[in-house]
Symmetry: C2
Subunit: 522 residues, 2 copies
């Protein structure tokens, strides 16, 4: 008979690649998402919360053709043989929901959704296997007005959460323009798919590699700093020239934009009102579009792309989204497959320090575009759709970097316990504070060691501790310790400034609330 195994003590450990979020990390995200939802709602988008679990079949990319179909997703097999998986994004579930409920949903269907998604990838520093996405999509219309609307909404959303105008730009492009340019460069046809892939990836890396790096990738290839060699597309000089001219349009546009923004910043600093008409009086995207028209030459798909891009740019311009906010940028690619027309990206343009201490632009926080084939998988019918996904954690990081959030610097008021038998008195104090909207709590640990109570208040980052011993009780007073001031005094002990300001007060019990209010008001 097998001996029963002794169960070892389990490890208290978040699974690899997962994280726990505490306090303001949670509440600040919730507050940001709530501000985003408000804008989306005002734009007529409806909330959707689909189940976190989908059939592997519905997720699509990961069909169970192997024994364990968990490449990229967390998947498991049900007793009845079905494979289920956690969603890896919000778009695949939207396609499933739309196909399933299309009889009941309005058409077009505008929806937004926010929540966690899961990726079964190798975790790395700052790369998690569960993270938040916040998406807005319009399903069921081919109108460019839908794409323009989402770009406008994205700009409004960034401002609503606290990114100032001038600190962001929505860069727009169209995949059909790219395809047209490829055609002109002789890269159309099924046999050129590999080359097209390399070109798209190279363009996508313009920011990081610069024009020379891209040029190397268009030709033979490129050796990076570590000595690794990336094979290039092997284009002829003539072919590469087409792609490079295309990119130069984007670079020129971007530089013009940067010059404008820095002029704008100067105006703001000088205290004069910005002359919006002068800033964006004529649609500066028109020049870019004219250049693109030349580049796509006779390519039908290319012409159509420029036309669509023009429509989106016009719609945005006429609604007041000038080049300080929306910019036609040919270098926007947004991944390889998937997108079929307009693509767009929200970039934050202010400087931050990267891990290596270099000053860099903050970069992309949201992106999206038009995709027309996702619902077709289910229904056989093509359903045009367009949508955007905000990188929730990236945007939160940006808001923290600009000091836009992180205002909750204090914890609750802590009422200390001097006399265990008078817990009801202490509870009455916190009840009085809470009723006034003040965050407050009684110390609930072992009250014997008073030092521990003050250490606790310190750990809670409390602004105030309240003390009522037997003596105070008898005299009808309480002691109020201003812990913020106390900390300041401790920091600058020799400083004259604090000498005459006590950090502890005795007030009548009946004046406790008023005094706490006074201290909290600063």
């Amino acid at each position: 008979m097998a001996k029963p195994k002794k169960t070892p003590r389990p490890k208290a450990q978040t699974p690899k690649g997962f994280a726990d979020y505490f306090g303001s990390d949670v509440t600040e995200r919730t507050a940001m998402l709530s501000r985003i939802a408000e804008v989306y709602h005002r734009y007529g988008f409806d909330a959707l919360e689909s189940s976190a679990v989908e059939t592997v079949e519905a997720l699509g990319k990961f069909l169970p053709d192997v024994d364990r179909p968990n490449e990229g997703v967390f998947a498991w097999q049900e007793e009845d043989g079905d494979w289920l998986a956690l969603r890896y994004d919000m778009t695949a579930p939207l396609a499933r929901v739309y196909a399933q409920h299309r009889g009941d949903l309005p058409s077009p269907y505008r929806r937004y959704t926010m929540g966690p998604v899961w990726r079964n990838e190798k975790p790395g520093p700052g790369r998690f296997r569960q993270f938040y996405q916040c998406d807005a999509d319009t399903v069921g219309t081919a109108s460019m007005a839908a794409d323009a609307e989402i770009c406008a909404m994205l700009a409004d959303t960034l401002e609503a959460v606290g990114i100032e105008r001038g600190d962001y730009v929505i860069r727009i492009n169209n995949r059909k323009v790219l395809n047209g340019v490829m055609e002109v460069a002789g890269l159309s046809g099924d046999d050129k798919e590999a080359e097209r892939g390399i070109v798209l990836r190279a363009i996508d890396k313009l920011d990081r590699l610069g024009p020379d790096g891209v040029r190397a990738l268009l030709g033979e290839g490129r050796k990076d700093e570590s000595g690794d060699f990336t094979k290039g597309a092997g284009l002829t000089a003539e072919q590469a020239a087409v792609i490079v001219s295309y990119l130069e349009v984007g670079v020129a546009q971007l530089n013009a934009h940067k010059a404008k923004v820095s002029r704008q910043v100067e105006v703001v600093k000088s205290g004069n009102p910005i002359d919006q008409a002068a800033f964006g009086g004529e649609n500066p995207n028109a020049t870019t579009l004219q250049m693109l028209r030349g580049l796509v030459g006779g390519s039908l798909i290319g012409k159509q792309g420029v036309e669509e891009l023009d429509q989106v740019a016009q719609l945005l311009f006429s609604q007041g989204y000038r080049s300080d906010r929306v910019l036609v940028d040919p270098s926007v690619v947004r991944g390889l497959g998937y997108y079929t027309g307009p693509v767009y990206e929200a970039e934050l343009t202010f400087d931050v320090q990267n891990d290596k201490g270099q000053t860099v632009q903050f970069g992309s926080v949201a992106g999206g575009g038009r995709y027309d084939d996702l619902v077709k998988r289910f229904t056989g019918q093509e359903v045009p759709a367009t949508g955007v996904s905000i990188g929730v954690d990236r945007l939160l990081t940006a808001l923290r970097a600009t000091g836009r959030i992180g205002s909750e610097t204090h914890g609750p008021v802590v009422v200390t316990v001097m006399d265990r038998d008078r817990m009801a008195d202490y509870q009455a104090m916190v009840a009085e504070l809470r009723a006034d909207g003040i965050r407050a709590e009684v110390y609930l640990g072992n009250p014997k060691n008073f030092g521990n109570q003050l250490k606790y208040a310190d750990k809670r980052n409390s602004p105030i501790a309240i003390i009522e011993g037997g003596d105070e009780k008898e005299r009808g007073v309480v002691q109020i310790k201003d812990l913020i001031l106390g900390a300041k005094i401790a920091e600058t002990a020799t400083h004259e400034e604090w000498k005459d300001r006590p950090s502890q007060f005795e007030v009548p019990r009946s004046e406790m609330l008023a005094k706490v209010r006074e201290i909290l008001a600063g």
Copy 2:
């Protein structure tokens, strides 16, 4: 060579037992949770969002002693051999988080958390495999003040989300009292575990089976309506009498409470202010506690339980939580294992119709208690903890039943498209409305068939449609259709009341916003 299989079209189907939530189902839940979080925060509780995925080892109840440890949980094996699973509640993750981060967390640690949990159970009508939980726990203190605080917070929370005083009661009990009574009834000792289990389950069913049903379960057993027989605990008449007297204390208390509440309702209806002193002037729980003291006799554990229960009741009473809100109720059991001391439950006392059309009390929406062994699994040290879990979907249902939520009756204002080329004009209209905080959207479908646009507005439950054709544009006006009024007129076509009130107005374009505002203001 195997022929490549043709992939069949995937089914667009939520997995069995999972659901999608649309529009107000999502936003109303979010709003309710946000109100709950506000109360918890004011009480000094900190937000926590732990990962949805845990190691099966950390979840504990489901150790991998079988090939697939997914009894009750959704679990899968990682490539490195580890088993991961979706959390099935918020308490097991809390124990893991506390054990893992205890060096950094304040002690005691008050935390709240809200989010989905997953159960791998057979789905049934209204029973889902993913649902929301909303928990608040205090870890690291044995003080009864922690339990009292959570009961007070629960009462405040219910009122904050919209449950009126008199429509709920927090029922409190203590597992040690129950254990003491069992001891008196001769049901202590390891060999009586099965009997104790049956007795606890029987008490837990008092609401549903009534005193006679419980008595049958204490004796030989009980045949239910379907003819199924449930084996009883086989107690002697003497033993059963102890349990029954115990329950009668609870029933008496409950009846006294009901009488008081109905008196209170009468007072409210009469328009006179409630005399709180008269209503709860003396702690009515004192009587119950006195009776319980008699029942537990010489049992040490029983006496300790009554003492603890008394402390919690006293603390609540002295903070103004009278018997209209908090009630000592010996019939509260809250599950079998797990809880070690105080247990509590929030019950909604108003009537609703059940599935069979019977009038019943709404019942429990939240419950919890003290558990002392959960963290010990990880650290070897006993860490006392107490906490409550709100049944989010139940509480939402209750708020809908009382008409407390569901106020968003209208969709967005819809601007119709009469001239596809003037999309910019229509976008400008919605921009103007949105800037004023009014939810609005342009119709983005194919505008050819105007009837479809009005059908869309209907499906969106729009209050207003705006129309600007070429003629209107020329004359500088817009047509505004009051769809709410229109629907009323259509419903009561013969009614004189509406005869002279037009449901469509022509106003100058410059007055569009003012007119829309006027209609929306009702």
